[in-house]
Amino acid sequence: MRTIEQTTSEVLDLATRHFNVVPGSLAPADDFFKKLGIDSLQALELLSRLENHFGIELPDYEVQGVSDFRTLAERIQSRL
């Protein structure tokens, strides 16, 4: 079982690769819309990547209103 720190770190790694940003430039508290300059659709794409990576299904309502990596990781953690 992963810890929340591990989950958060994997979320950051995956976002870094998916959006091709400089490794180490994303932090848990970052607002991913703002930091990555993405829209809600691109955020949904990231969500699908995360689901595949963690092998979970995350209903859309679970991530409604979530905009930072830490909260996103918490929502994922609760379903692991």
């Binding site: 794409e45 409604q64 209103g65």
Partner: protein, 570 residues
């Protein structure tokens, strides 16, 4: 299609539709690869009537208001039908609002009943604002886990009456829905839409974009939105068509839904349409040079043959692979909620996929103008719908003036707000606050906004006053939020931004700490509501006797500053 001219209410029309089209497929609800529901019109009736019966047993009577806060799904439509059947007034709310905003609008609308989904209710029930809302007497929650504590709510699935419900007739002039065009944080604008508004709009729209049994509409735009309410609920159901809901709106599942369900129509906001365009363009760019050449040739042939009108059969043959990706049965993409850039519209039309763009606002029903595709004009928002009168007030030399609208689809007014109602009406004409002109062929061309608001590409209307609460107690003398294009008028419908006008205390400077404070508060707003920058003004804001900021005068003062240097980006 039912002859809607002979009906007095939405409820009566839908009631007859359920028996007229009893054996047709009414709704399909999918969640990823699983199909959750596959209902005929008869099935729909057998789900909805016990709900209506239970509502009536619970004391829900003619004119009572019931709100729905749900994602797009079959129970949304079933619940709405039950409300109309029982003579109620529907208050459809955007499920994406915050719990505080939901409670505010529930209070303002005086809703007696709330129908919502379990995850939404979990948040609503624990919000502190719930305590101040006494009008909501009955809460029905869908899909609650077994043994879940519903904190005062009842399980939607168990809320069923045994007796046959009594149909409650309503008149055309009665209010059918209260639809909020804004009103979170500021002054709610609850548009009172009548039964006539919907009946007339449905006839006008389906004359251009018809539905019939076998048509499948993919419902993605939130059903509380005027467009999906019409083309994803009332329109298809009164024509015997089928509505397809997806519980997971990830791009890959949406893409799969087109071929899987052989979709006929879909409504999208401009942002999603642009995203689709980007995806398709990337795939075209990847084609090997030879294939690319052939493809471009076929697109050009299609363009030549569809210049005066769409030819779906021909386009599907010429560009079969593209159309197969959309299921091969797509007749049009309806785009709305915000302004769509002409080049995006043209991109799809050139592929033989007509995009039904138009222009509308909640206050005027679903649409005021729609592109009738004869011929397709990407540079306009189409012609007025049948029955809709549109005029340009006080046009300047270039013909541009404010768009005013009159017709049977225009709202009755704002709920409990005669002052705001009086502001937007003049002799029965609705003043839209948008600027535009007609071209020689009667097509409307929009060119900007006169009012202090913006519309995002995702179709969200943002009124600056609605987001000011986030900045309350900011350590400055005074502040005010504006749409930048309202302060510095710009002939543009895209790239709109919000700005925060700040008047600092005597001797105070705009430090990094203050900027950071603004950023922190800005980040509390949903991403599409966030400010773009700050404008400093070193003078007292003009105010009324009751100390309210005179926004129009303040905007004039700000306008004296040079836009590009005045806005300090956040």
């Amino acid at each position: 299609m039912l002859d809607l001219f002979k009906y007095q209410s939405i409820g009566a029309a839908l009631r007859d539709a359920l028996t007229t089209f009893a054996a047709e497929v009414c709704m399909i609800e999918a969640d990823r690869d699983r199909e959750r529901e596959h209902l005929t019109y008869k099935d729909f009736q057998s789900r909805a009537h016990p709900l209506a019966s239970a509502l009536e047993e619970a004391g829900f009577v003619e004119g009572d208001r019931a709100s729905i806060i749900m994602t797009n799904q079959s129970k949304w439509l079933i619940s709405a039908y039950a409300v109309f059947f029982s003579g109620g007034v529907l208050v459809p709310l955007d499920y994406k609002l915050t719990p505080a905003e939901h409670w505010q609008l529930l209070k303002h609308s005086e809703a007696k009943v709330l129908v919502t989904e379990y995850p939404i209710w979990r948040q609503l029930a624990s919000a502190s604002e719930r305590a101040s809302v006494e009008n909501v007497k009955l809460v029905l929650v869908t899909e609650a886990p077994a043994n879940a504590d519903l904190v005062g709510a009842q399980c939607w699935e168990d809320f069923r009456g045994a007796a046959e419900p009594t149909f409650v007739p309503r008149e055309r002039k009665d209010v059918a829905c209260i639809v909020y065009s804004s009103g979170t944080g500021g002054r709610p604008k609850g548009c009172m839409m009548t039964h006539e508004n919907y009946l007339e709009q449905c006839v006008a729209l389906t004359s251009l974009y018809p539905f019939w049994p076998g048509v499948r509409y993919l419902s993605i735009l939130p059903t509380n939105h005027a467009i999906d309410f019409m083309v994803g609920f009332f329109g298809p159901l009164t024509c015997g068509a089928c509505v397809v809901h997806l519980r997971t709106l990830r791009p890959e599942f949406v893409r799969e839904a087109f071929p899987k369900y052989k979709i006929t129509y879909v409504s999208l906001v401009p942002l999603v349409l642009k995203n689709l365009q980007k995806g398709l363009q990337a795939r075209f760019d990847e084609l090997p040079a030879g294939k690319r050449k052939v493809f471009n040739f076929l697109v050009n042939v299609n363009k030549a043959f569809t210049k005066s009108q769409p030819r779906l059969g021909l386009s599907r043959k010429l560009l079969g692979q593209v159309h197969a990706g959309f299921g091969g049965e797509l007749r049009a993409i309806i785009v709305g909620g915000a302004f769509t850039e002409p080049q995006t519209l043209q991109f799809f039309y050139d592929l033989g996929i007509p995009v039904a763009n138009g222009y509308g606002l909640t206050e005027a029903g679903t649409a005021i103008t729609v592109n009738d595709l004869h011929p397709f004009r990407a540079d306009t928002v189409g012609k007025p719908l049948p029955g809709m009168e549109v005029k340009i007030m006080n046009p300047a030399d270039d013909g541009v003036g404010e768009v005013w609208v009159h017709g049977k689809t225009v709202m009755a007014g704002y709920l409990n707000d005669p002052e705001q109602t009086a502001e937007v009406f003049s002799d029965g004409w609705l003043k839209t606050g948008d600027l535009g002109r007609f071209d020689a062929t009667g097509h409307l061309m929009l060119s900007g906004r006169k009012k202090n608001m913006i519309v995002t590409e995702e179709g969200k209307n943002i009124y600056p006053e609605d987001i000011e609460t986030v900045f309350e107690s900011l350590p400055v003398k005074e502040f005010c939020v504006f749409a930048a294009n309202y302060v510095w008028p710009k002939r543009s419908m895209v790239g709109e931004q919000l700005i925060l006008a700040l008047h600092l205390e005597n001797g105070q400077t705009y430090t990094d700490a203050l900027r950071n404070e603004v950023i922190v508060r800005n980040n509390r707003l949903l991403n599409y509501k966030r400010l773009h920058g700050v404008v400093l003004l070193d003078e007292d804001f003009p105010r009324t006797a009751s100390l309210k900021i005179k926004r129009n005068i303040l905007a004039e003062r700000l306008a004296q500053l040079e836009r590009s240097s005045a806005i300090l980006p956040l």
